[in-house]
Amino acid sequence: MLNRIFGLETEYGLLIHEDRPDHSPTWFAHKIRDHLFQVQRRGVLDLHHRGHDEPPGNGGFLTNAGRIYLDMGHLEYASPECHSLMDVVASDRAGDLLLQRTIEALGFCDQVSLIKNNIDHETDATFGSHENYLVPRRFPFSRSGMAPLVTFLVTRQIFTGSGRVGSAPLQDAWIQMDRLLVPRSTFGTQPISELPFQISQRADYIVNDFFEWVQQNRAIVNTRDEPLADPNQYRRIHLLLGDSNMAEYATALKLGTTGLVLQLIEEGHAPQELEIDEPVEALQEISQDQERRWLVRLQSHKMMSAVDIQERFLDCAVRHYSGQDEETDWVLAQWASVLHDLRGDYQKLVGRVDWASKLWLLNCFREAEHVEWTDPMLKSLDLEYHNLNPAKGLYHGLLEEGRVPRVTTDRLIDLAMDTAPKNTRAYGRSELVRYLLSERPASVADQLPAADGLFPSYVINWSIFQVRGRAPFPMPDPFKTYLKDVRTHLDSVIV
């Protein structure tokens, strides 16, 4: 899509199938990472401390220019920078497949499953799916400027949600009142009772409208200013309220519609007077609405449905961006189609919208087996929807049965496992990773800085890299490939 760089970060869960396992999920995560980098040589491990919780060897960049690393014990994959929806969907699925195939290569399939979801029903842990959108620095990054974005994000879950059985307990949230952080419970929010099913995995865990933290006090819009690019030109809109999607169609629609709404805001075309009265509460109320009427109260005191709100955004986007490019037209057409179908029987959305697919499967099972929503089996089926093992996962079962539309192909995903998009700076970084793989030994132990404190033989970050003995190589513009410059720079490196 025009003038947009997309990226997705996905944290995976690891489900161990044994009653008394010999190893923890973290042990398996280490094995999988080590096999990827040291046996398959899919990329190069970091040799430097990236942060307090990312010591050398914790993860690294791949030949597709994305990253795989451990974060709070979870395997995490960050896609390369993508300039098209097709690329970001293929790159996202490439991360799934890199990890799943490694489990298969290690012979772990009977012991452990890779789960692409965002919650643990029993521990109430949550882990993320983060979206990244590059916008110009002039983007109106203020409460009033982003009010339309908040309204859009609160209501988009009707087609982006992955659904879950049950609900999370009231989160320990703090909100900022002037200069004080005050517990949300101060304002009398009552704990919610257990629900049969809700359309979003993450809604229960979002407790603020704007905030900069990511591990607590999760907000609808994360305000951390970390553009990973020239800060004078760009800002990175970092969203952590969304669910990991299994359906390619839902991934594409989520990123595509959000990209268009950001464009509406940038260019002053966003619909007005749609500010939601209490967006955090509305986010949870929409997710939990068992009748799926999805009504929200606006600051104007008017009640409006999420579908009607989304149609206002769609109308603006059609008016201003119809014909902009092929991907935009695809998004506009599918956005309209999904909103139309959301007014009817949810079963029309099976295959395209993850919560609808999951709900349909669960209802089929409940009817066939005569089980109630309180049966713990339903939580296990909920997890199984997200199992990336194609022989087991329920999403993969739907795919196998031909109930799921594709927006990419297996061949493209295979390509994206190894190669970077050719039209972003990921391409230049991929060149660097290939060069280092051709020059360096496989084991991180052989590459770590010498005891005399020498600079490690390389340092790679998203917007800069340095190979020992040469000047740093900045890559501040994600729209540039830097390919020729990277090759020239590497050709001049003394090794």
Binding site: M86, G351, S380, V404, N423
Partner: protein, 64 residues
């Protein structure tokens, strides 16, 4: 019910990306699903094979 596939990608990782297969050509969704029970198909078999205790076993840490 038909859905047009996403447009062909012009800047592919190696070669231009092929056109996504048409759902009508390959029989892939999004057909309206059979609203009855999938009793006789593989989906119900998959669901019945699921370990009822696996949600208890999951034991994940909070991430980000």
């Amino acid at each position: 019910m038909t859905h047009s596939m996403m447009p062909e990608r012009r800047e592919g990782p190696v070669d231009p990306m092929p056109k996504s297969p048409s759902p009508l050509d390959e029989g892939g969704g999004p057909r309206r699903p059979d609203t009855g029970s999938p009793e006789k198909d593989s989906l119900m078999k998959r669901m019945r094979k699921v370990d009822p205790k696996q949600a208890e076993r999951y034991k994940q840490r909070t991430g980000e």
